[in-house]
Symmetry: none
Subunit: 420 residues, 2 copies
C-alpha cells in the first residue's frame, strides 16, 4: 500500500485560531483511495520550517499533500520553498494571470498588483486550476515523492482535491478497494436505531458500520474493503437493502445528500409546491430549501412571522386562536400552515412555532417546545417536539423535523397515519 | 522564547474520522502562555511511528505535548514507547489502580481487568491525575525536552492541561505574554484592504498582522508578544486605533463577534426595528438575524418573495416595475425594501434580489448579479453586487452585504452618502 503524508501550512492553524479541518478531509480522501496516511504535520508561515517539514514528508511517503500559503500576501511562501527544494525557477504563466484577472472582473473589481505573484509557478510543475479562487495549485515530483500543493481555503481545496488530485491518485492505490457509503437518518434516536438494526450489523461481518451523530440525525457509515470495486459495491448493497427493509422510512439520503435536496427532488417529481410559515426557525427552512438550484420551481414563498401581527396579517391566524392557545401551540402551528397554503395557493403549507430559547419560557411551555405543522390537500398534521436548550441547535433540529414531515408525506402518506 | 511541539496520536485522527480539535486547543494554550508552538504532528496507533515522531519533536522543541494512546486496549502504546525512549521501566502504582477502580464503582460498574495497565507508569515519570477519566497522564524529561503526556478525550485533556500542565509551563514562558485580537471586516477585498493599511502594518514591527479570508470578509489577526499583559494590550490598542482611523467603516466586529450580533446590538441600542424582503438570499438574512437571543424585539417579520406574485401580494411591488425592469433590478430591490417597510410599519426595510445561480442568467444579467436595498425613514439606498458562480457562497455574501449596509447606516448615515 502506498503511503502519504499531509502537510498543512498556516500560523492560524498552529496557534489554534482555527481548527484544521483540511487534514481530516484529506485523511478521509486518501483512505477512500486505498492510500495509507502515515502522518499529518502542521507548521506556520515560516520558510525554514516549511522546508524542514517538506523534507521529512518526502523522506517518509510516496505522496505528499500540502495545503496553504498560496495567497498573494508576504507571508504566503509555500511556492518559493517548493521551488528552492526542487531547484526549479518560478516562471510566469500569462494564462494564469488572465484567469485571476477575470475572477476580479467578474466581481466588478480591479485586480490589485499583489495578486500577480499567484501566476508564477515552479517551472516543472503541472498547474492545478482553481475555478473558485485566485490561488492555483500545482503538482511536482520531488525526490521519490509526488507532491500536490493546494490552497488552504477549505472550499477551494476540496474542489481541487476531488476534481484534480484524487483522479491522479487512483493509480497509486494498488489493488484493494475501500468503499464507504453513508445512510443519513432523521426522526429516530441513536439507541433506538441501533436496537432496530443491531442483528443486521452483527451478522454483516465483512462490512463495518459506524454511527456518526449529527445535528439533523444519526448517520450510518458502511465501510467495506474488497478485491474489486464490483465486490465492494455488492457487499454494501446487500447490507443497505436489509437496513432499508427494517428502517427505510428514517433514511432520508445517502452520502453527501442533504434533507433539502431529497425534499427538492420529491417536490419536483410530484410537480407540487410549498409555502413556508416560520416562527422559531426564523427563515432557516426556507434558506435551506432554496440552497438547491431550481428551487424557485417549488418554493412559492416564505413568511417569517416573528410577531403576532404578522401571523394575523400575512397568514390569517385568528385573534381567537392566538388568545386562546398562544403563539406556541398546536392550534397556531396548524393555523399558520393552513393560512400560508390558502393565501399562496400552494399544494402544501409548512409551519414551525416554538421557544428556541434561551429566554421566553413559561412554566407550561419550556425552552425547546416546538410545534411543526403540514397543511396538505386533505387536512393538516401537527407534531410536538421537545428539543434542548441551545437556540441554534433547536432551530436546526426543528427545521429538519419540519422538512422530514413533508418528506414522509411525499414518500407515502401512510407513514403519517402510522404516526412515524 | 521557548519552543513547543504538539504530537497527537490516533488512527481516527489520521484517517479523518474525527477532526483534531486537541491540537488547536493546545496551540492556543501555548500561545497564551508565551510559548511558541513550532509544529503539530499527528500519527496513528503504531509504536515505530510514534517513536519516530517523538524523537523529531524532542529534537525540535523544549516542550512536547502529547495526547492520546493512554487507553486500556492493545492499540494504546504511547506509554510503552515513551518508556522505551527514555530507558525507564514501567512500574505499578497501587494508588492509581485504586483511583481507576473507584471511577468504575462510582458508575456502578466492575472494573475490567484490561484497565489494570493504566496504573503502570514510566519509573521516573511525574504522574498527572485525571479526575474525570480512567487514563492518568504523566510528565517525563527526555533529552533536553520536558514531555507531557495527556489523554486524547478532549474534555479530559483540557482539564489536565488547564490544572496540571499549564501551571508547570508558566515558568518556561520567561515572563512574556502573547496577546491576539481579531478585527473582522466586510465589504472590501483582501488586496485592497492590504493596500489601504500596508504602511501601518509595516511600521508596527512589534505587532504581527495576519490576514484570514472568510466567506463574509477578511479577518485581521493582530498578535503581540510583550513583557506584561498591560504592555501587550497597549501595543494592540495603538495599532487598532490606527487601523480604525484608516479603515474603520469596514470593521464590523472583533474576536468571536458575528455580523448579526453587531447589527442586533446596534438595532437594540437605537430602539428601532427591521423587516426583511428576501429573494435570492432565500431567508438567510432572517435566519442569521434571529440566531441572536432577543432578536424578536427588532425583527418584525421576514418575507421570502421567490415568486413575482409574492412580491406583488406581500410587498406591494407594482406590475409596472416588474415588467419594466425585471425581478432582478435596482428598481425592484428598492420597491421590495420600501414595500416591506411600509406594510410592516418598521423603521427599516432591507431587501435582496439577484441571480444566485447556477441557472437563471441572461446576457444582461449574469449569475452573481445581486441588488440589495435599504429603505430608511428618509429614503432608500440601493447597491449592486457582482458575486461569483456558487449558489451558497453567493447567498452568504449577499446576506452579509445586506446586513453590512444596515450596519453602516446605523453607525453613521454619512458613510452611505460617501458611497462606502
Amino acid at each position: 500500500m502506498k503511503k502519504a503524508a499531509i502537510l498543512t501550512i498556516g500560523d492560524e492553524l498552529l496557534i489554534g485560531s482555527i481548527v484544521d479541518t483540511n487534514a481530516a478531509h484529506l485523511g478521509q480522501c486518501l483512505t477512500e483511495l486505498g492510500i495509507e496516511p502515515v502522518w499529518t504535520l502542521t507548521v506556520g508561515d515560516d520558510a525554514a520550517r516549511i522546508r524542514h517539514a517538506l523534507d521529512l514528508c518526502v523522506s517518509l511517503a510516496d505522496i505528499v499533500l500540502i495545503t496553504g500559503g498560496l495567497g498573494p500576501t508576504h507571508d504566503d511562501v509555500t511556492k518559493t520553498v517548493l521551488a528552492e527544494a526542487t531547484g526549479d525557477r518560478l516562471v510566469f504563466h500569462p494564462y494564469l494571470l488572465d484567469q485571476i484577472e477575470e475572477m476580479f472582473v467578474r466581481r466588478g473589481l480591479a485586480m490589485p498588483e499583489s495578486n500577480r505573484i499567484q501566476a508564477f509557478m515552479p517551472e516543472r510543475a503541472v498547474v492545478l486550476d482553481n475555478p473558485v479562487g485566485t490561488a492555483p495549485g500545482f503538482m511536482l515530483r520531488h525526490g521519490e515523492a509526488d507532491v500536490f500543493v493546494m490552497p488552504g481555503v477549505p472550499r477551494e481545496m476540496k474542489k481541487m482535491m476531488a476534481e484534480q488530485v484524487a483522479p491522479r491518485l487512483q493509480g497509486h492505490a494498488g489493488g484493494r478497494v475501500i468503499l464507504h457509503r453513508v445512510l443519513k437518518t432523521a426522526g429516530i434516536g441513536e439507541s433506538s436505531l441501533f436496537e432496530t438494526i443491531k442483528d443486521l450489523i452483527e451478522s454483516a461481518k465483512d462490512v463495518r458500520v459506524a454511527s456518526l451523530p449529527q445535528e439533523a440525525g444519526i448517520n450510518l457509515r458502511l465501510t467495506v474493503s474488497a478485491a474489486t470495486g464490483e465486490e465492494a459495491r455488492q457487499r454494501i448493497a446487500v447490507l443497505e437493502t436489509a437496513l432499508r427493509a427494517r428502517a427505510g422510512s428514517f433514511i432520508y439520503g445517502t452520502d453527501g445528500e442533504t434533507m433539502e435536496q431529497t425534499l427538492g427532488r420529491l417536490l419536483t417529481d410530484a410537480e407540487v409546491t410549498v409555502a413556508l410559515a416560520e416562527s422559531c426557525t426564523g427563515g432557516l427552512v426556507c434558506d435551506r430549501l432554496t440552497d438547491t438550484p431550481g428551487s424557485s420551481a417549488y418554493v412559492e414563498r416564505g413568511v417569517v412571522a416573528y410577531s403576532n401581527e404578522t401571523k394575523k396579517q400575512l397568514l390569517g391566524v385568528s385573534d381567537e386562536t392566538l388568545r386562546a392557545f398562544g403563539a406556541v401551540s398546536a392550534q397556531t402551528a396548524a393555523a399558520m400552515a393552513e393560512g400560508v397554503r390558502r393565501i399562496s395557493g400552494t399544494t402544501f403549507g409548512l409551519s414551525t412555532t416554538g421557544i428556541a430559547g434561551p429566554s421566553g419560557a413559561t412554566p407550561e411551555k419550556p425552552v425547546g417546545l416546538v410545534y411543526i405543522a403540514l397543511a396538505h390537500p386533505e387536512g393538516v398534521i401537527v407534531r410536538e417536539l421537545r428539543l434542548g436548550t441551545e437556540r441554534r441547535i433547536n432551530k436546526v433540529r426543528a427545521a429538519t423535523a419540519a422538512m422530514n414531515l413533508l418528506r414522509l408525506y411525499l414518500v407515502d402518506p401512510a407513514h403519517i397515519e402510522k404516526g412515524i
